[in-house]
């Protein structure tokens, strides 16, 4: 009984396999349908819904969202100085974080790619990858503990007559730079590793000093990698509200205002409209980055 059942099963399986093999379109549809359907419906659908929400209005008087299309939220964002200031501060911080990360990432990436032995290099890659994927909140919290008045930083800096930055906007910049550093190290490392050694030798043979080779050969060739890394440092800074609320000591960033409005206040339309700021900034950034060919370095 079971023997014939499995045999029938197997025959059916074979027929199905052959049928699928003969119809590549159907095969593609079956493969692509679930992931594409899920992402389009769950993600793109949600994004569209968010955009629609941005054109609705929150009536504080009745405490409800009024579903009548209006541009009020966008007008408020552009005209109210609070929203402008916070947006400018967030974008400037993202820029400063990107620059700091590029500067810090270069030496370690260079050491990994061109100086370290094969063994050391593998260890270093793992050492950089580990903090990239894990312990985000723990690291922010650890920085908060370090930055607190009379905490680790103050104690360590006291003998040389300095103080830590406490909880401030400078701290937010410092902690953001710390958090996203691995996202910059890895692309630059990969970019440096791809440069053929012969190019550097040629530059030296032609009489260039190390600094000239760096400026004229290495830097231009790794620029796409730096831009690839900057996409992460920029986007991650724009979309974070947890880090500022832990270490910025009350200074607000775009994420904080969006989070407050959707959570405490319940003004989803305004939150949705303000969330368009990081979306627009990222779209412009991605378009600019695309021109430089950075996408091949992703």
């Amino acid at each position: 009984m079971t023997g014939t059942a499995t045999a029938a099963h197997r025959a059916f399986g074979r027929r199905l396999a052959t049928a699928l093999y003969r119809r590549p379109r159907l095969q593609l549809g079956l493969l692509l349908g679930p992931p594409l359907g899920a992402l389009v419906i769950a993600y793109l659908g949600a994004l569209v819904l968010l955009l629609i929400n941005a054109f609705w209005r929150y009536d504080a008087f009745i405490g409800r969202v009024v579903t009548q299309p209006t541009l009020d939220n966008f007008v408020q964002i552009v005209t109210a100085s609070v929203f402008r200031d916070v947006a400018v501060r967030t974008v400037l911080t993202a820029g400063a974080v990107t620059i700091a990360d590029a500067v810090i990432a270069f030496p370690i990436a260079y050491y990994m790619a061109r100086v370290a032995s094969h063994r050391t290099r593998n260890i270093l890659v793992v050492a950089v990858v580990l903090p990239l994927w894990s312990g985000y909140l723990v690291k922010v919290y650890a920085w908060r503990v370090m930055l607190l008045n009379g905490g680790f930083l103050d104690s360590v800096l006291a003998p040389i007559g300095l103080r830590g930055p406490g909880l401030s906007d400078v701290s937010a910049w410092l902690v953001f730079s710390y958090l996203w550093l691995p996202y910059m190290i890895l692309p630059i490392y990969a970019g440096l590793e791809r440069i053929p050694g012969s190019l550097l030798e040629a530059s030296a043979d032609l009489g260039a000093r190390a600094s000239t080779t760096f400026r004229r050969v290495i830097l231009p060739l790794t620029l796409p990698a730096v831009i690839a890394g900057s996409i992460f440092t920029f986007s991650l800074t724009l979309g974070d509200y947890v880090t500022p609320s832990l270490v910025a000591g009350g200074t607000q960033f775009i994420g904080n205002i969006v989070f407050e409005n959707i959570g405490v206040v319940g003004n989803t339309p305004l939150a949705a409209a303000y969330a368009c700021v990081p979306i627009v900034v990222m779209l412009i950034y991605l378009l600019l980055a695309r021109r430089t060919g950075a996408f091949e370095s992703l």
Partner: protein, 265 residues
């Protein structure tokens, strides 16, 4: 390029300093988890295991740990299925909009976290789903697909199709070929991608906080308790637990598969 010994030494010292910068805060949290003093002063006052006992007794912490693990397993399973299917489709077929698939897979993680968070939260609210484990799993799965997809497609590009053709020529049907040839060559890549997805989900808070409702994952528990002065030492212990449970899968992934390392999300 010739490098002088001095330049080498300088580069080595800079690298060491940067590594110290990366790992110092993590080491500090480990140290404070064993500190006798309730206030995180430097240097630590003494050694104790008391806070570990307190953390183990808290039913709230146990509940959030269990929710985090359930959410991570759920998100990983969904990501494994969707990511593998998408990788096969993109690798095996050429079709209109193929480039868009990779873009779509990366989008949930490339867009700023708050955007993904409130978009999903608004969508869940609109269709009337109750916030909880289900919404956390769906939200995490959308941005975890990319880790599986990236690992699977990198492996597919590296493995030659001739093995599969040989299997078919020798009379194996599509299923047999998949089971005995294709899947084994893909297994470690999927395992690595799955481990990364688990770590990513276990670690996430920016999106999670917006879609979890009253539920607490482990990171949300830390977020809700870090301001309570009495809880500070227990928060350190939970932080230690949280980082251990996300570092271990990432470390395993990087050991299992070379594709897992060097692929920034």
């Amino acid at each position: 390029m010739e490098r002088s010994p001095a330049a080498r030494l300088l580069l080595r010292l800079t690298t060491a300093a940067i590594l110290l910068f990366i790992y110092l805060p993590i080491v500090l949290i480990v140290v404070y988890a064993f500190n006798t003093n309730r206030v995180p002063t430097w240097p630590p006052a003494g050694f104790t295991l008391e806070w570990f006992g307190r953390a183990a007794q808290s039913s709230e912490i146990r509940a959030s740990l269990s929710l985090s693990i359930q959410a991570a397993i759920g998100a990983t399973l969904v990501a494994l299925v969707l990511g593998t299917l998408a990788a096969f489709a993109v690798h095996r077929f050429s079709f209109f909009g193929r480039e868009t698939v990779s873009f779509l897979v990366i989008l949930p993680i490339a867009l700023p976290g708050i955007v993904t968070g409130i978009a999903l939260a608004t969508a869940f609210k609109t269709i009337g789903v109750q916030f909880g484990l289900l919404t956390i799993v769906v939200a995490h799965a959308t941005f975890c697909v990319v880790t599986v997809y990236n690992n699977a497609i990198a492996r597919l590009r590296r493995t030659s199709r001739s093995l599969e053709e040989a299997s078919m020529d020798l009379g194996a049907d599509t299923w047999q070929t998949f089971r005995h040839v294709t899947f084994p060559s893909l297994r470690t890549a999927l395992l690595a991608g799955g481990l990364l997805a688990f770590a990513l989900s276990f670690d996430e808070i920016i999106v999670t906080l917006l879609v979890a409702g009253p539920q607490q994952t482990l990171p949300i528990w830390i977020f809700n308790n870090y301001l309570r002065p009495n809880q500070a030492p227990v928060v350190n212990v939970v932080a230690l637990l949280a980082i251990a449970l996300s570092v271990i899968p990432v470390y395993l992934a990087s050991r299992i598969s070379s594709e897992a390392a060097g692929v920034p999300r």
